[in-house]
């Protein structure tokens, strides 16, 4: 396959950045998208140019590190996959492919396609945890009866890998799918219910501080999410937030 790549190049956070065009002639349709990016970088290094910086780690769709916005969609045109699971067979010979970093005020560009997603870490730190007493008398979690539907929903929410595709896809750069998944995975389980009010209030507050937009319920986040996190979680977070706002003493 021959492809033309239009890649966002930005030297640093303070650089303005621009799209640059590269041509690749020997791309296999069996390559993953990141392997194709590796080939591009080998070509650039061979030409004495600076390779394209991009995030990647496990390359198995688990870690959520790869964060490219490909041809107008986070993680590219395939559904339910991260960029590392996207294959070149999704494209045609002669295609022009736009590759940009995730765009959001809360995800500032560090270099080229690498963005700073520590805003998600700070949201997690604000309340996305269960305070476990370590006195030695902690009850075995397996000994606590949990209804199967609740356990399933909590597990589905916990499947969120925090890649940020929801933010990248949303026209408002809203992080509500991510935050709601983290709120839900705890609030559905007995261990998380104790701190549910404090958690949702603090996480939403931190989300707003980070500069993410409001949810317009377009559903783009759910469609583009590589883990299929449901919009149902956003409704649950809204309910929990309302309840907590009306009843919490904080």
């Amino acid at each position: 396959m021959k492809v033309t790549l239009k890649v966002w190049r930005q030297k640093s956070a303070s650089d303005k950045g621009k799209i640059e065009t590269y041509k690749l002639d020997n791309v296999s349709e069996h390559m993953s998208f990141l392997e194709m990016m590796d080939v591009l970088n080998e070509q650039l290094i061979g030409e004495g140019k600076v390779p394209v910086a991009f995030d990647h780690d496990c390359r198995e769709g688990i870690c959520g590190m790869c964060s490219m916005h490909i041809n107008g969609e986070p993680h590219g045109p395939d559904r339910g996959v991260t960029t590392c699971q996207l294959h070149m067979r999704m494209f045609n010979d002669g295609d022009t492919i736009y590759i940009e970093p995730f765009r959001a005020k809360g995800f500032p560009v560090i270099k080229d396609l690498v963005v700073d997603r520590t805003a998600f870490d700070r949201i997690q730190h604000a309340g996305g945890f269960v305070s476990v007493p370590t006195s030695g008398n902690t009850q075995d979690a397996n000994a606590i009866p949990i209804p199967k539907p609740d356990a399933d929903k909590a597990f589905d929410a916990a499947a969120c890998i925090g890649c940020g595709a929801c933010v990248a896809a949303c026209k408002n750069a809203s992080a509500m799918l991510f935050v709601s998944a983290k709120v839900s995975q705890f609030s559905l389980l007995p261990q998380g219910k104790v701190e549910a009010k404090r958690r949702v209030l603090h996480m939403v507050e931190q989300m707003d501080k980070e500069g993410f937009g409001n949810c317009s319920n377009t559903g783009a986040c759910e469609v583009e999410c590589p883990k299929g996190i449901s919009l149902e979680n956003i409704a649950r977070m809204n309910r929990e937030y309302l309840k907590a706002s009306l009843s919490s003493s904080e």
Partner: protein, 228 residues
Amino acid sequence: MSNSGLLKSSVARKVAMALSAFFLMIFLLQHFAINITSVFSAGTFNELSHFMGTSAVVQYVFQPILIFGVIFHFVMGFILEIKNRQSREVRYVKYKGGASASWMSRNMILSGLVILAFLGLHFYDFWIPEIKIKFIEGDWTGALTEGGEPIRYFHHLRHKFEDPIRVAIYCVSFVLLALHLLHGFNSAFQSVGANNKYTKALQKFGVAYAILIPLGFVFIALFHHLNH
């Protein structure tokens, strides 16, 4: 919590937006219920219009609430739009919004602006003349005649819908209202946290409401235009 106060958080603003939307959707239903009588009976329409126009409860309680609801919905819509635009300072070079979300959901501000412009015309056509008669001229009698000729309510309605351009503007505006409601109806329920076993049925009802009510208003405008 510095963020948990009324309308200070993103979630609270969306809930407020949804509550004002519920209020306006109920009002729209009531407005349609009265307007549709003009198709069947000029007398009934006149009686209902007269009651709505002269009842102290409607004029001094419900009308201010309605005006507040309309203004709140639009102002909050603009605030949310501005905040949302600020959340992505650098735009994508290539962005396929249509690949994952409907046109209606991505363009609520556009359909909202058309509806706002339409409301300006609608107020100029019907609300301002009524306000002038009642509050400036001080005529609360609801007199339906002037020099022996009927002028209020039904005849005023018929007169306004003689102009084909005005009717066309009304029809286009109601199409935009339908598009606004096609997303807005269910979005409002999602914003207040209603997502449960009834959601699918509610979504179907929402689609029916979003299409049938504006279509009904279009029918009323066309009916009076063709029968004037």
